[in-house]
Amino acid sequence: MKEVIKVEKLTKSYKELKAVDELSFSVKEKEIFGLLGPNGSGKTTTINCLLSLLNYDSGEISIFGEEMSPTKYHIKEKIGVVFQEVAVFDELTVRENIDYFCSLYIKDKKKRFEYVNDAIELVELTGFVNFKPKQLSGGLLRRLNIACGIAHKPKLIFLDEPTVAVDPQSRNHILEGIKKLNDNGATIIYTSHYMEEVEFLCDNILIIDKGKVIAKGSKEELKKLVGISLKANFEIDKMSNILLNKVKQFKNIVDATYEDGELFVSFEKTNNLGDFINFLHDNKVKYTKVYSELPTLNDVFLELTGKELRD
């Protein structure tokens, strides 16, 4: 697979603050690449540097094999950007907005008409083409924002937190739409602080914090960085400290805490949830509910930085 983006030692400072610190990564053709990190970690700054919107202190950026610069219009025409903030004209309808932004790339009217229709279909706004942005819900507005950024069928798409403040139904529409774009051959750079979305969408993930790379790889590779294979919690009315200490000493248990009637247990790489349930029965511990889950990217982040992604 060809490399579509190559970034080497990218550094960008705002006065004293290093927003991006020697960031290096590459993105391969047709992959969905996730840039994951908490708010203020440098995701948007990185994207804006890649797009030649921001000056940067040092480093190299190449896109489609060429060094990126603001006047490389032949590269820009292959790029689509969906900014975090909604950028549409209130005075234009849904169709007019998509058509306006598409016209920045596509001059041929007939071709543009087809492209606009395809974008409307992709984001499922068919029933709203004559609506003005102010008549749309937050989720529909986000979908319009995406359509405006991708209507010209770019080969490389940057999506900067496209689902912020979106209802679950619209979020699903958006995520499915992004999958479709990728299926149609587009390479996608997806930034988010929602680990579930990144896990759902991305082939490769770069986790950053304070402008620095914390970890990179596929989600499976990243999860291997965490020393647990399973997390489980049990709803238990009462638990003595003696019993909690016994739990902590049970084989393959990495950590155990009891708070507000819930026992949280993390297992080491060997999964022995069944043995642990038997252990609870043997100790006559009654639990009303039990949940278990695999480790998430949040656990990876927690393991590597000591804080939650959404802190």
Binding site: Y14, N48, L51, S52, L53, L54, N55, S69, P70, T71, Y73, H74, K76, E77, I79, V81, F83, E85, V86, A87, V88, F89, E91, L92, E96, D99, Y100, F101, S103, L104, Y105, C148, G149
Partner: protein, 354 residues
Amino acid sequence: MFLKQFKLLLKNRSMMFWSLAFPIILGTFFFMAFSNLTETEILNTFNVGVVGDSEFVEVLEEIEFIDVYELSIEKAEENLNEGNIVGYYLIEDEIELFVRYNSTSTTILKNILDTYYVYGSVFENIASETGQFEILISSNNYISDVSTENVDFTNIFFYTLIGMFCIFAGMFGINAVTLSEANMSIKGARVSVSSVNKLKYLLSTLLVSMIIMGIEFSILYIYLSVVLGIQFSNVLQLFIVSLLGCFVGISLGVLIGAVSKKDEEGKNSILTAVTMSGAFLAGMMNFQVKYHVDNNIPLLSKINPVNMITDGLLSIYYENFDRFLSNVGSLLIFSIVAIFISFLFLRRKTYDSI
């Protein structure tokens, strides 16, 4: 792109309101306010007192419908109180007008004084060389032509209205810059990452803005002249100055848009502040301010865009062709300088922060 920009701007209700509907509404109010001024009232001769002596007295004596009485201050007050005179001018270092009530006659007296302040130095020069104050009188249409011609003194308010209209074009300039700069709006960021050349996009938006202002001015002119029946003295010159005025307005907007780091609303506030200050210094609130600025800080007058526009329009009103040409030149120079400075700010391709 050109047509898309055209459509986009036409659909911007707020800008259309301020740049077209508002001047039309204001013009209608002006018309309604002045419609009770009948020609009979204007034609009646009235008495005015003068306390002190200067060439201004000779100017007054040349005006047909004014009977001038040279009085002491006490006599002037007494006659004013008894209603024998509608007002009196107190001539000291400056000339002040005292009236008891506001009326058409007192408005005319105020207008005469304002005109004298604005054109005083020119007239004094002419007077000292030729001794003919008729030149002054003949350059004041509202005085010499009031009984026979179309132009009357209330028209000056409509020229002021046109001046204000030109300055509103600044909103289009600010809007154009905001739409093309990534550090000013998210839409600007979208334009900046596209394959469209940013400066071409900006110039296309400015050209569309100028065409819209031209169309709007034509509509405003047709409304004022056909619907309200206001007759302007030299339509060609009026169009030239007004369109140049719009160009100045747009250039001023572009300059504010390019230099200021505030958002669009903040920039429009700066535009309002600049134009209001400019209007004050140009004498829109009080002509004596213009007189003082012209005489004491001439550079300020020369770089004040509102002053350039109002001067240009007044030169049409007073049929002073030399002044008209000089103002056309000033308007062009201002626009070119403003656009050049803006270009220096806008030519950058990337930003330190957005």
